[in-house]
């Protein structure tokens, strides 16, 4: 085995990963699904809501929370849903269908690194979009800056983790891009409903809100709104997001097919 000893060099790990991230970034720019759906649309909605006079009113007579404030977490949830359930899984499933993952597995680089690159690119998109939403709302539309920054960041991280792992699970079980599209959309609408995109959570019946508490975006919106207003997110909401993140990651790992 002298020959194998001579060629068992350390793999150029960081180098390859960086190149994979650059390539996936170029693809995300050239096929701007995540940019348009996950960044542009939520920010556009923020501006539309911001200039609508109705959004300066309280969401109901029992509270001082304005529609504008209530919708900041909802728009963050929208961003996470569109990036996590559409922008993240679709390219992965397309890569698999085109046998690109298989081609990569014939190189010294494991195809899971492409998965890591795809997660990294979408993470950047999500952070940029959420930053624009919170920053824009605070700077231009009179929303108070998050009072509990730690709780806000923790809620944002857990919400991102739960939606991204759900997206990876969609990528894992979808045999083709159309199936991934249908599955992602089928999850998108109920999740966004419970997040309060159409009816703010505060205006939902107690029963509906209770169901929403067990969805990743329902608890995300609750946690983000709480910390926006100065109280640390409720433990049950953080636990719900963490459980979704862990279970979906394990399921994605269990079911992911490379070809």
């Amino acid at each position: 085995m002298t020959s194998s000893a001579a060629i068992s060099l350390p793999r150029p790990s960081g180098h390859s990963l960086r190149h994979l991230i650059v390539a996936e970034t170029k693809l995300a720019y050239r096929v701007p699904v995540g940019l348009v759906l996950g960044v542009f649309i939520p920010v556009l909605l923020l501006v539309i809501f911001g200039v609508s006079p109705g959004f300066k009113r309280p969401i109901n007579p029992h509270t001082t929370i304005t529609f504008m404030t209530a919708y900041v977490p909802v728009l963050m949830a929208l961003t996470l849903a569109l990036i996590g359930l559409v922008s993240l899984p679709i390219p992965l499933v397309m890569h698999r269908e085109r046998k690109y993952l298989r081609r990569l597995s014939a190189t010294p680089v494991a195809p899971r690194w492409l998965l890591a690159a795809q997660v990294a690119v979408n993470l950047v998109l999500a952070v940029v979009a959420m930053g624009l939403i919170v920053g824009g709302a605070v700077l231009f539309f009179g929303v108070q800056a998050p009072a509990d920054v730690g709780g806000f960041l923790l809620a944002a991280v857990l919400a991102t983790a739960s939606l991204f792992s759900l997206g990876l699970f969609v990528a894992a079980i979808s045999p083709s891009p159309p199936v991934a599209g249908v599955l992602g959309t089928a999850l998108l609408y109920p999740l966004l409903y419970f997040a309060g995109l159409w009816v703010p959570r505060q205006n939902m019946s107690a029963g509906l809100r209770h169901v929403g508490d067990f969805t990743p975006l329902g608890s995300a919106v609750q946690s983000l709104l709480n910390s926006l207003q100065g109280s640390f997110p409720p433990t049950h909401a953080l636990v719900v997001m963490a459980v979704w993140a862990i279970v979906m990651t394990l399921a994605a790992v269990r079911f992911f097919r490379w070809e």
């Binding site: 085995m1 020959s3 194998s4 060629i7 068992s8 060099l9 793999r11 150029p12 180098h15 390859s16 960086r18 190149h19 994979l20 650059v22 390539a23 170029k26 693809l27 050239r30 096929v31 890569h95 085109r98 046998k99 690109y100 298989r102 081609r103 597995s105 014939a106 190189t107 010294p108 680089v109």
Partner: protein, 317 residues
């Protein structure tokens, strides 16, 4: 190591390879070795198990039983080390259409510790003018050349090329053959899966034919054609009638047939020389002589048309 691979120039050693998908046996007890800087062809009908067999070499498939060693490396256990010395061209397109040629080549170069010079490689493959084009916008032949470039970018010691020239026009095929021959000149060992017999005949030092998952024959293209192609036929018009015994006694001749005033002699080896010599000594002159020699395609067709084929002695050579 298998007993077949004791010579120092043996780089690929496959012994008793077996692979089934469910109840379908794809590869059934296949053994072969490939020498350094050899172009080794794998031929056989569609679904014969060619691709499965070579995918066990590159580690893309895990053999059920049997041993596979490439430069002494186990494709399953020494994953990274093996992939650093084996370059692969897959049957399908398998690359993102919205990446440019230069981006793909740079990306794949980053996967290997000692990559080839990307500019030189693009030049060698005639892709320099296309390096800023999207992969998805390339013609079939250009895509094929990109696939070859990516198989060679890591400076592999073994290149496994599956359906090298499928979809290429005749000129591009000939250019690609020249390219592959040139790469072998640099000491790279090439395993070539093909269903073009002219390609195997032109390029390969040895050809292995696989059918129904088994090795049917393994030999040089010339010997292969001779053994399995039905031999040569010499057809001519004799200036004088002659006794068949004159030729039938020759070791090279296996049969004689008269059609009209023409005679067709079947046989092998130096058929032309021995027949002409024998005729001359009897004062007979062959007029309008035509020699047809079996090629690899004849051998292929004869071998695949048989209902059941027992592996020949050559197969285990």
């Amino acid at each position: 190591m298998g007993d077949e691979c004791e010579r120092s120039d043996c780089v690929v050693d496959v012994q008793h390879l077996h692979k089934a998908y469910g109840s379908t046996v794809a590869v059934d007890d296949v053994s072969f070795t490939v020498n350094k800087a050899e172009i080794f062809g794998v031929i056989g009908p569609n679904g014969a198990g060619k691709t499965t067999a070579v995918e066990c070499l590159s580690g893309l498939r895990r053999p059920d039983t049997g041993s596979v060693r490439v430069f002494g490396l186990d494709p399953q256990r020494q994953r990274v080390a093996l992939r650093q010395v084996v370059g692969v061209q897959l049957q399908e397109g398998s690359l993102p259409i919205r990446l440019k040629v230069s981006e793909l080549v740079d990306l794949f170069a980053s996967f290997y510790p000692h990559p080839a010079n990307t500019d030189d490689l693009l030049e060698l493959l005639g892709l320099t003018s296309k390096c800023r084009a999207y992969y998805g916008k390339l013609s079939g032949g250009q895509k094929q050349r990109v696939a070859i470039a990516l198989a060679l970018i890591g400076n592999p010691k073994v290149a496994i090329l599956d359906e090298l020239t499928t979809g290429l026009d005749p000129q591009a095929r000939r250019d690609t053959w020249e390219l592959i021959a040139g790469i072998r000149e640099r000491g790279v060992t090439i395993v070539l899966v093909t269903h073009f017999m002219d390609e195997a005949e032109r390029l390969c030092d040895r050809v292995m034919m696989v059918d129904r998952g088994q090795v049917v024959a393994l030999d040089t293209p010339t010997a292969f054609a001779e053994h399995y192609g039905g031999g040569s036929h010499l057809s001519f018009r004799p200036t004088h009638p002659f006794n068949d015994a004159l030729l039938i006694t020759l070791p090279e001749v296996s049969g004689i047939e008269h059609v009209g005033d023409r005679v067709t002699v079947a046989g092998s080896g130096d058929l032309l020389g021995s027949v002409v010599h024998a005729l001359e000594s009897a004062g007979v002159e062959p007029v309008n002589a035509q020699l047809t020699t079996a090629n690899l395609e004849d051998a292929f067709l004869r071998l695949t048309s048989r209902a059941t084929v027992a592996p020949s002695e050559e197969a285990s050579r």
